[in-house]
């Protein structure tokens, strides 16, 4: 067992997959000589050369479109979009083409590509560079959207994404790159796409998150355990396909739920989770499902304002305690 960062897990996995399959290649802005804006591709140009690691012009629609073409030929491009915000320029290629080609071409050609891209606020990058817009892609049939929260998940899910024959949007998070976790030595596990995980068992309440919020949910659970509150944490891991069964099963057990999301509340991912809970566990619910999300404002650049706009351990803890109070349970 080794303890490595989320960043290292991604880099090691990319490298191993490139050794495993000659058809895997990388393209994106600043990924070669500069080794990636967030250093995920560090050392890969030196090791694999320009044929496998391609620096592109600043033209996101261009390189995503080109990757789709390469994928249709049978290559396995792994595109890096510097942040999910820049995917907006490529959104027509992603939604109208990558997600549709298999069906629109009568199943004749699949698009086995991965788009790796980080979301995440909290880095003081301003309103156009701090959005969590994975919802846009999670809404689209034909795409798969993965959102790992730990180094081990990042590795096994990236392996799954690269080997999958469909286009996968692989959501990373700026706030997770430096986080550490255990990864088994020589691990070659391939995650099952579309499976959530109960990352901490509990009995009082279900706390649901994904990506950075799954990590924060774990911290909230840890904190509340010291107060005698038993929180079950569900890490969604896959936003499409969504594993409703795992969510519903947990809520049937605990009887109440809070969803923590790093996006905006109205129409956000949490709305889908709450709807799924009432469909699958209505008779088991002792309290309304609570959602904790960002303030519905463009992300401020000033540090104190950005902090105010983001969900926090405190705001999630408050929501958990209020939910438990609402059902008349003891709150520590």
């Amino acid at each position: 067992m080794s303890v490595i960062t989320y960043r290292q897990a991604l880099r090691d996995t990319l490298r191993a997959e490139m050794h495993r399959d000659e058809n895997v290649f990388l393209l994106g802005e600043e990924i070669g000589v500069f080794e990636g804006s967030y250093k995920i591709t560090e050392g890969l140009l030196k090791e694999f050369g320009e044929r496998r690691v391609r620096d592109t012009p600043i033209a996101e629609e261009g390189f995503v479109g080109a990757a789709i073409g390469a994928a249709m030929l049978g290559l396995r491009p792994v595109v890096e979009i510097m942040t999910i915000n820049f995917s907006l320029i490529a959104i027509d290629q992603i939604i109208n083409h990558a997600a549709k080609i298999y069906g629109m071409f009568g199943g004749q050609t699949s698009v086995p590509m991965v788009i790796r891209t980080p979301g995440g606020g909290g880095q003081q990058l301003g309103a156009t560079h701090s959005q969590n817009i994975e919802l846009f892609y999670s809404f689209i049939p034909g795409l798969k959207v993965l959102a790992p929260s730990t180094p081990a998940e990042a590795a096994s899910m990236l392996r799954a994404a690269i080997r999958d024959d469909d286009p996968v949007l692989f959501l990373e998070n700026l706030g997770l790159y430096n986080t550490k976790g255990e990864v088994p030595d020589g691990d070659e596990s391939v995650a099952e796409i579309g499976r959530a995980a109960v990352t901490r068992e509990g009995t009082d309440i279900t706390l649901i998150g994904y990506s950075r919020m799954a990590m924060v949910a774990g911290q909230v659970a840890e904190k509340l355990a010291a107060e005698g509150i038993s929180v079950e944490v569900v890490d969604l891991r896959s936003l499409r396909p969504l594993d409703r069964d795992t969510i519903v099963e947990s809520v049937r057990k605990t009887g109440c739920a809070v969803v923590a999301e790093d996006d905006w509340l109205t129409y956000g991912i949490g709305a889908e989770i709450a709807a799924s809970i009432q469909e699958g566990a209505f008779d088991y619910l002792d309290a309304p499902v609570r959602r904790v999300a960002m303030a519905e404002v463009p992300m401020p650049y000033a540090k104190p304002l950005e902090t105010a706009a983001l969900p926090s351990i405190d705001s999630i803890t408050t929501a958990v305690k209020e939910t438990l109070s609402a059902v008349g349970r003891r709150v520590g």
């Binding site: 620096d55 600043i58 540090k303």
Partner: protein, 371 residues
């Protein structure tokens, strides 16, 4: 990889050589007094000081970020001083020198990078639009604005033109290329001013284009010209001519100001990771201030007392910038709701009220949510 498709060296419009020699150009006669030339030197020196101070303030934690213009002062001051009050400039995020020429106070620029405001000045007051962070988008906005001027019939000698600033990297973006298409077919009064500083963060020009950038214009159907971006006189003359043509209804043009980003892309970047120090040394010899200093001195247009006075003024500016920056107030948490919509919105009102209650639940909180 070949950078050009022809063996001909692209023509570089230059009026002042790096050695400080003045040479006439038949297409760009320059009508300028000695006083105006001294004024340009003062601009270059003060803008450089503004930039140096801002980098230092960022390093001290007073600014979140700064995009240095070091090395690009002549491109910005030359083009900025070519503008008339009626003209409108659309900047990217590095045009501190143009902002200076348009009368935007240094503290208002710093306020943006400090996070005190998302704006900082009224574009109409200065004929200088707000900074755009996303690459290339402002080229379309400028084109639309120029089409508005055209629609208003505000062309001619007393009319207006638009200039839009972007970098070499932005020429790869679809937005910029679509702006070229729209400006061309509508004959819009817009000057596309590309500061080719050779680097799009870590990606050199040959990653963006196989032809000199100014030649892109020809394919869209308007003229393009390459000017020495470190030559403030040439930048002034070429931009004046392009703006004049735009005002006179001759449509758009592209100016490629050939220059060099002597500093980092932003304070978050470290250029030593991807470029050679020899390249920087080579460009230092082409420094925009140096050549004007040499020219003014050699021709008796400015004396030591003038340069000493400019230096002293730069020192005072630096001090003022440091003081004003530190005095900028921190915004209060409830401010996050202020600028979401121009009109009242019940959803925002409710969120603001809930958030105010949440903040008030902390001890010692004041009414504005500050602590």
């Amino acid at each position: 990889m070949p950078v050009t498709t022809s063996h001909e060296e692209p023509e570089l419009i230059q009026l002042l050589t790096p050695e400080g020699e003045f040479k006439e150009h038949p297409d760009y006669p320059l009508d300028i007094s000695a006083e105006e030339m001294r004024g340009l030197y003062r601009d270059l020196a003060l803008v450089r000081r503004l930039d140096t101070e801002a980098v230092a303030l960022q390093r001290q934690g007073e600014l979140g970020l700064w995009a240095s213009l070091l090395g690009q002062e002549a491109a910005q001051v030359g083009s900025g001083r070519a503008l008339r009050p009626n003209d409108m400039a659309f900047p990217s995020y590095r045009e501190h020198g143009v902002a200076w020429c348009r009368g935007v106070a240094p503290k208002d620029l710093l306020a943006l990078f400090r996070g005190v405001t998302n704006g900082g000045w009224n574009p109409d007051d200065h004929g200088f639009h707000l900074y755009t962070i996303v690459i290339g988008t402002q080229a379309l906005h400028a084109t639309g604005y120029a089409m508005g001027i055209q629609r208003d019939g505000a062309l001619g000698e007393d009319g207006s033109a638009v200039i839009v600033y972007f970098g070499d990297g932005a020429t790869s973006q679809g937005d910029t290329n679509e702006a070229f298409v729209y400006a061309a077919v509508n004959n819009a009064p817009v000057v596309f001013f590309c500061q080719n500083n050779q680097w799009a963060i870590s990606e050199p020009l040959e990653r963006q284009s196989r032809v000199p950038l100014y030649r892109r214009a020809e394919g869209f159907g308007f003229p393009g010209v390459r000017v020495d971006g470190n030559d403030v006189l040439a930048c002034l003359a070429v931009t004046r001519a392009a703006l004049h043509n735009a005002r006179e209804g001759q449509g758009p043009s592209l100016i490629e100001a050939f220059t060099y980003r002597m500093g980092a892309h932003t304070t978050s970047d470290d250029p030593t990771r991807y470029r050679m120090s020899a390249e920087l040394e080579e460009w230092k010899a082409k420094d925009p201030l140096l050549r004007l200093h040499t020219f003014l001195t050699r021709n008796g247009l400015a004396d030591e007392a003038f340069f000493a006075a400019v230096e002293e003024e730069a020192g005072r500016l630096g001090e003022r910038i440091r003081t004003e920056c530190r005095a900028l107030p921190d915004p209060a948490p409830l401010d996050i709701f202020h600028e979401v919509y121009a009109e009242p919105h019940h959803h925002i009102d409710r969120q603001r009220a809930e958030f105010a209650d949440y903040l008030a639940s902390f001890e010692g909180a004041d009414a504005e949510g500050g602590r």
